[in-house]
Amino acid sequence: MADTILEVKNLKKYFKTNKGNVHAVDNVSFTLERGKTLGIVGESGCGKSTTGRTILRLIEPTSGEVYFDGKDICKVSNKEMTKLRKDMQIIFQDPFSSLDPRMTVSQLIAEPLKYHKIIEASGKELEQKTEEMVLDLMRTVGLAERLYNAYPHELDGGRRQRIGIARALILQPKLIVCDEPVSALDVSIQAQILNLLQELQKERGLTYIFITHNLSVVNHIADEIAVMYLGSIVEKAPVEELFQNPLHPYTKALLSAIPVPEIHKKQNGPVIQGEVVSPINLPDECRFYKRCPISCEACRQGVPELREVLPGHFVACGCCQ
């Protein structure tokens, strides 16, 4: 029996606007095993970040259930939620805007400890224990001790992202949502952070939800990948299966659009035309219908459901089912 840490069922998040509801997250369901990494991939505006945040209840879902360690977190009280948050943390995308510029590195890393009153001590003892924990964690994420009293503006992007990682780790969470943690970084720094995240996962048995638009990155780090388009998961499969045998036309188009850094390795797939349609008041048909190179009649008969077509390989497409 698989050890499930997270189960998401029919999660929906609609944002009300004057023009109608924005379907940011529409009927997303998946389960995630402990110690694994789920990559959520998609283009801007497909709802991947909103999904990540709704799972942590940083945004209240419109409807749906999120079971974390067997408990439906959408139904718990705020007080209980605060306790649960210790186990579920997030690393934000932009290390330049997600850190308070007026706090030092040590204050930033220690903030969650203070908020959750983790250390049961007071006065000098509390200070000393906090300092120990912060320094210990700074070593873990590869920040030099001399940066203890530095401010974020003194640091480069890679180091700032290490602070973000340290902040997420200090509460010893079980699940971390990584929301585009490397997309603001240069490639050589990006590789350093990806390696760090992988090492930490091995050491601490962490479970990651890794949100990104970069398919090469997700291919490297994830065990399983969910491809999102306009608020819904259109395909979900183990990483190798998805890259070798993509079924949904959108996944195929995404994969063939990635520029590969090798000569004559261009995956000459079709370049899909058109752009993502507005997520407001969506018609009752396949979300990808207007851009789809196949688009058969079945696609117009309502939104296709995510179905298991091969063991572990789910796809929501009228034509390929």
Binding site: E43, A191, L215, S216, L254, A257, P259, V271
Partner: protein, 349 residues
């Protein structure tokens, strides 16, 4: 707009000073510094490269490597102060860009060399319609009426894949990909023979990036344009470029044809870049990042700027600036380690 017609006469002046050449761009020993009261940032340090007609040169490097500054210098557009072209020779279509008068420069920019900017969200003027922004350079450079300019604008819109009827709309009414198409239409307005594209697709989603790159390739072929493509994405380089220059801390560390730089890589930094990239065709257990950070361009070491992060560095590398070694007529690498004729980087073993 009352800009038309003024610039027609500078043409003759330009032809007198133009040297005959088959190079679209040639740059020799270009040095650009940003000078402030407290420090001097050595952004571009003695780089040389050339671009043959109808070719595409990829300029690769990480943030702060000096790519954009080098290209601004090419158009003699480095913001001054604090920027200053200290020395070097810059020729575009045989014209010495540093010796042109402001009026001549204005004529050359746009009609002979034009630029596509990185961020389509901020590079367009939000209070002018896209038609006005595209038409502006047509009116400025060509002696035609407003009605004719409008027709030209609509033709351009069609070429970049935008409905010509949308010429009266404002930038905020377009998506990111569409705005970048507008940026490309502006750059193409006067059929420049040299096009500089500064990270034209970095702000776009992959499927939109694929559309834009496909379109740029098509337009380049139709117009016989020579292009310099600035990017940090080696995948985009592989798809678009004929030649590649890799920049690090203001220097070109490796320079060669696409084939040479990708398959016969010589410089340890280029190798490091390849090893840092997760490759979709070849999943590895662990990436091999380049350790450390790029040195502060305001405080460059006296030896090789990459020595501190280089796995092959010796004492000589830290003491003296790197020597340039050539491996073929077209392939250069600035690396002292090649003094030893048997030296090979890991990638080539």
């Amino acid at each position: 707009m009352k800009l038309n017609g003024k610039n027609g006469k500078s043409d003759t002046n330009l032809e007198q000073i133009r040297e005959k050449t088959d190079l679209a761009v040639s740059v020799e020993n270009l040095v650009v510094h940003y000078e402030t009261s407290s420090e001097t940032v050595e952004a571009v340090n003695s780089i040389s490269f050339s671009l043959k007609k109808k070719r595409t040169l990829g300029l690769v490097g990480e943030t702060g490597a000096g790519k954009t500054t080098a290209m601004l210098a090419l158009m003699n557009m480095v913001p001054n102060p604090p920027g200053r072209i200290i020395e070097g020779e810059i020729r575009v279509n045989g014209l010495d860009m540093r010796k042109l008068t402001p009026a001549q420069l204005q004529h050359v920019r746009g009609s002979e060399i034009a630029m596509i900017f990185q961020d389509p969200m901020t590079s367009l003027n939000p209070v002018l319609t896209i038609g006005e922004q595209i038409g502006e350079s047509i009116l400025l450079h060509r002696n035609i009426s407003k009605a004719e300019a409008l027709k030209e604008t609509q033709k351009l819109l069609e070429r970049v894949g935008i409905d010509p009827e949308r010429y009266g709309e404002y930038p905020h009414q377009f998506s990111g990909g569409m705005r970048q198409r507008v940026g490309i239409a502006i750059a193409l307005a006067c059929n420049p023979s040299v096009l500089i594209a500064d990270e034209p697709t970095s702000a776009l989603d992959v499927t939109i990036q694929a559309q834009i790159l496909q379109m740029m390739r098509k337009l380049k072929e139709e117009n016989d344009t020579s292009m310099i493509l600035i990017t940090h994405d080696l995948g985009v380089v592989a798809e678009m470029c004929d030649d590649v220059a890799v920049m690090y801390a203001g220097h070109i560390v490796e320079y060669g044809t696409l084939e040479e730089v990708f398959n016969k890589t010589k410089h340890p930094y280029t190798e490091g870049l390849f090893n840092s990239l997760p490759n979709i065709n070849n999943r590895v257990e662990k990436l091999q990042p380049i350790q450390g950070l790029m040195p502060d361009p305001a405080n460059l070491p006296k030896g090789c700027a990459f020595a501190e992060r280089c796995p092959y560095a010796s004492e000589a590398c830290r003491e003296n600036p790197p020597e340039t070694h050539s491996f073929s007529d077209t392939h250069l690498a600035a690396c002292t380690a090649y003094q030893d004729p048997d030296f090979r980087i890991g990638r080539n073993k």
